[in-house]
Point group: C3
Chain length 255, copies 3
Amino acid sequence: MLPRPNGVVTLLTDYGLRDPYVGILKGALLRSSPKVQWVDISHDVPAHDVATGSFLLHTLVGRFPSGTVHLAVVDPGVGTARRLLAVAAHDCYWLAPDNGLLAPMLAGDAAIDVRAIDVEHLGLHAESRTFHGRDLLGPVAAWLAAGRYGFSALGPRVHDPVRSEDPFAGVPRVVHVDRFGNLVTNVQAAAFAGARGLRIAGRDLPPHATYGEVAPGELLAYVGSFGLVEVARNGGSAAALLEVGRGASVELLPA
Amino acid sequence: MLPRPNGVVTLLTDYGLRDPYVGILKGALLRSSPKVQWVDISHDVPAHDVATGSFLLHTLVGRFPSGTVHLAVVDPGVGTARRLLAVAAHDCYWLAPDNGLLAPMLAGDAAIDVRAIDVEHLGLHAESRTFHGRDLLGPVAAWLAAGRYGFSALGPRVHDPVRSEDPFAGVPRVVHVDRFGNLVTNVQAAAFAGARGLRIAGRDLPPHATYGEVAPGELLAYVGSFGLVEVARNGGSAAALLEVGRGASVELLPA
Amino acid sequence: MLPRPNGVVTLLTDYGLRDPYVGILKGALLRSSPKVQWVDISHDVPAHDVATGSFLLHTLVGRFPSGTVHLAVVDPGVGTARRLLAVAAHDCYWLAPDNGLLAPMLAGDAAIDVRAIDVEHLGLHAESRTFHGRDLLGPVAAWLAAGRYGFSALGPRVHDPVRSEDPFAGVPRVVHVDRFGNLVTNVQAAAFAGARGLRIAGRDLPPHATYGEVAPGELLAYVGSFGLVEVARNGGSAAALLEVGRGASVELLPA
């Protein structure tokens, strides 16, 4: 069943905070619905980095009230014929360009409905060829959140969205490096439960529960807040110490 | 006619996000009016860079609901005798120090009314000589947005605001470099319509509509989301490739 | 007397704005109380730097409406046995790990009540060992702000919170460097009133009221917006010119 929109729109973009793009996007939300409430997730997705955007979007699953509208714009193909999608999944709504950004919502059977946004039918006009967040996705997000349009009125159902690789599938590896220098892997907590530890950059790290369990400066492998195994350093950056980054291989050590 | 305030205040400053200044400014808004709603435009205007602040402020014209209060603080002369201005223009209100920051609102006949804020008459006291955003402009913005004071009650009409050069006038040039490395020029869309292209750093770039029309790595000239001609690189930074920045000359190529 | 909560929660963390942690924390607030209003103070506290967090928290005293809930998370000991505290002080509420972050609220007789948050009694469960902002402190902040739980229902009174050194006590020194390169000292305005000036890095600086009183490029000492003596450079960075930073000694010059 489709969740009832709750008036909240989250924003994930690669617009950065230095330029006025995020503020102007919020102006578009306000012009479409003065009551909308927004939550900034991040605007520092590396420019045009759809895979990182996709990972960050995934971390929002289950973290917002039912019916939240999640708007994501990382859009190297802006202004070309690529579609704009609306997906109902995980008890929320997800709006983004059809470029793989929504992979986590389209994987498995999470999506209960997928629509191609029919901007003309909704009376929208892209004033610019390069700012569809402001001109198209922002207004649609605000209208959906405010209940002006129901989800199924946004456009026709589609069955062929771009399904880029699920960022959590594939060989065990680092999928994100956070500001603390923690290395987030795609190894799920369940797989780690029975393991002797994790190997990364030639080091075998036994499982721990939290930073404080190891001495300052020491590395640890633990289940992080995303439910994924992470490698951290107590009081420092694991990424800097190990000199590894996104994509680095890891190996689960069987018991 | 003066627009009816709508309770929204936008914030454009050079305070940065590392220090607590922006948060404290919002505290001042809340203490003045608990119902005020704010929108961050940018707090990363380079310190004391009035010209960049002025450009960013201009990009907000037409992008917010009627009656929005736009508060801008880039204020190298804080604490000196420079006035604080309130301008009614473009169906919104604009508050800022009288140092040229409001140039885009004062150019031509956009401004329908200009006031010097009479802080004493409003019962305000600058607790600090260096944080007039918190002590003076913030409270005035919140009161104006909430309807506690009408625009004409803010202070006497003035006819001699600082009119620094309109950032869009003058020779064709780059007026802003955004986080993607796109070079925003002061060439208006209308002028570009009849042109063969744009010359920059010795290169002639034909007009295109969007990134996707050129090959990855290629440069393009196009009308950007501000209604101004921009130079971009598909999948990269035009600024880095061309090694040019703000102030760089461009030349419109006649048909 | 305990202030009446006003629905506002401020957020001060070392989570950064690049990762989704701050957005997810706000999701936790919304799931706990859809009406809560938040104010970002800073999320760029250097990772695990409790002393800087403590200074920034102190700057909020008196700057928000009565009954505001201030939530601070800089938490190198997350997941260990360290307690979570709630303090009623300065007409507001302050929630943070018991690691010294709340030193300014615990100094002198500011605190009128200190509680150890009893997460089990409140029905909370730390889903993760490393994100107590999301799992524990966020929900408690939202409930307290919304009036779902009164302050004294949060847990038992404690008398032995970690009282790290008051960041404003001790020898006169630089306690913060802001984005403008201004050097904020722990010298109070009252002490400066009778002084001939401030010595820093071998230079004697007479008191001034604001930047504009000295020539461009010149240094000045003045009472800043925090009520503390600061050293600044008109149109530049005092920190860069003097090549000093946090911890640098200063000396008050007697009249």
